[in-house]
């Protein structure tokens, strides 16, 4: 078996931001002493005046981003997702979303990427919290190419965006020639027995699960959902009607992607569902790899959930 290369999506994030900033002087980065964790060193070297470091002050950081938007700048406010979202939630709600400011909130190392550092440093609540906020686009890229395209899209989109950028190594999962479109799911595998809808870092695990299911004679459809908001309602409903059962997979509380999909399914095409992710729990101590296995956010866990649906 050949080794599949894994990528840290932060590299795609910073390379794209520097590339954009070369020709778009509106672009500014705002950080909370998070240059290193955001891999923004190259940006700081190239555009020292356009990197504003407010120190460890997340409410100030997001407010500053909104003020920059008022001045015609496009602020990429980049910090560990756990601190950015939880500490500055009211600023995200009011200064970014309610104010409809063009600014990009970049949640770095989300989910359980910080592993052993524990639940204080995990950001598994972000998708559930942020999808509740009107007008906020919530993007969860699954690989480097999608990350790069999402950064480019967010730089041009005249509104507030939350962008989850992972550090956990992921393979390229999207097809050649892929184009990121908010609100459009990507069909990575056709199938009519059951549908697996995954987002972000764990899309690759959904594909692994589909291969396991194939050995059982189960033909699973795999959708990658790059935006939790807007959600691709059409793809979700087609999956419900065509396959009769949906498993959602996320490195987050299941009230994120899972909740969003369930709301659509229940309203328009009720089918049985299973939710793979973290359900109402703070994680125990463990590495990211160990934690994903612990919560069953892996190929076998996803496959088992799918088998339950098919067996009904």
């Amino acid at each position: 078996m050949t080794t599949v290369p894994l990528f840290d999506c932060r590299d795609a994030w910073v390379d794209t931001l520097v590339e954009l900033a070369e020709s778009d002087d509106r672009i500014v980065a705002v950080v909370n002493d998070s240059v290193g964790s955001s891999k923004l060193g190259p940006f700081q070297d190239r555009f020292p005046d356009r990197l504003i470091n407010v120190g460890i002050a997340e409410q100030d950081m997001v407010g500053v981003g909104a003020g920059l938007a008022n001045g015609g700048k496009v602020a990429f406010v980049s910090a560990a997702a756990c601190f950015l979202t939880a500490r500055a939630m009211e600023q995200i709600k009011v200064d970014a979303a309610y104010s409809n400011n063009h600014m990009v909130l970049v949640g770095q190392s989300p989910g359980m990427a910080y592993g052993e550092l524990g639940p204080t440093h995990h950001s598994i609540e972000d998708l559930a919290w942020l999808r509740a906020i009107p007008g906020l686009t919530v993007i969860v890229p699954s690989d480097p190419e999608e990350t790069a395209q999402a950064v480019r899209w967010a730089a041009q989109h005249d509104g507030p965006v939350f962008l989850r950028v992972s550090r956990m190594g992921v393979p390229a999962v999207n097809p050649d020639g892929y184009t990121f479109v908010p609100g459009r799911a990507v069909t990575l595998r056709e199938g009519n027995d059951v549908t697996i809808i995954a987002t972000g870092t764990v899309v690759t695990r959904a594909l692994d699960a589909a291969r396991l299911l194939e050995q059982d004679g189960i033909d699973a459809r795999v959708l990658s959902m790059p935006t939790i908001k807007p959600l691709d309602h059409d793809a979700v409903l087609a999956a419900a009607r065509d396959t009769g059962g949906i498993v959602t997979v996320e490195e987050a509380l299941t009230s994120g992607l899972g909740g969003a999909v369930a709301e659509t399914v229940v309203r328009h095409a009720p089918v049985p569902m299973r939710f793979v992710g973290v359900s109402d729990a703070f994680a125990p101590t463990g590495s990211i790899g160990w934690l994903l296995d612990h919560f069953g956010i892996n190929a076998e866990g996803v496959a088992e959930a799918a088998r339950e649906l098919v067996a009904r």
Binding site: V28, V30, D49, R50, I52, V54, G55, A57, Q59, D60, M61, V62, G63, V64, G65, A66, G67, L68, A69, N70, G71, G72, K73, A75, E90, Q91, V94, D95, Y98, S99, N100
Partner: protein, 307 residues
Amino acid sequence: MNVETDEDLVPAVDSAAHAVGDLPVMGRIPAGASRDDAVAHLREAARLVRRRDIQMVRAAGLGHIGGEFSVIDTLVTLYLGVANISPETVADPERDRIVLSKGHAAAALYTTLAIAGFIPPQELSTFMQPQAMLNGHPARTKIDAVEASTGPLGHGLPIAVGMAFAGRLDGSSRRTFVVTGDGEMQEGSNWEALMTAGNHRLSNLCVVIDRNRLQQGARVEDTNDLEPLTDKLRAFGFEVHDVDGHDHGALLDAFAQVPSASGKPTAVVAHTLKGHPISFMSNNVAWHHKVPTQEQVELALTELEKS
């Protein structure tokens, strides 16, 4: 006539009807006006804004009259006398910015925007009505002249710091003025922002603290005291001006020193009275968001005639 009040602070008034005309659009201090004429322009504008404000609160049955009457002189001075903005330049990138961080004083802001010509005076009668652009707290998506949506405290100052950074990045001389309450300075986000502004020497930034010494439930000093406030602001890297926040001439003098010669950001501590200058409201914590009776409105209007 008996006047209903929780505090029994309102003397009986022989109620005479006060004709209330639409608010005139006075606009900015005329070019070339003498200092006396400039101050007279602001004083008259503030009087008219207070007249209209109290009627708006009465009509809506909601509002924050105490903190509105304390900050009106600051707002009128900024919009009509200091900031380089006008209805014609409301979208000009080079305009000065004004942010009302104490968004609960929305009626004061709207009335000031109306007398300055940014919104039609007749719009004021829609304050807090269904679908009105005049929400209970100002929203930038509803009114062009509102630079930032505020209401939850501690938001305007960080946003103003971002505006000041944007001006610096543009090499612009435009200035940013942000008006906070004094109780609001209990919010930690404000001190994060003050530290950023001081360390980055954002000389194009001016923070005005409406120092009325009362917050919603009690005196600031009895809640979580700010003192020594000016020492703290200086320690955070600000030029600090202590002024009488109801003295338009003193406010003009303080704002004229922005940007500071020292390169530091400026803080103006505007010493005010909540409910000023109405006898039964002034410096009375009960009037944070109390709604006046019609008799109280008429008494206040009578007092404003004489102010």
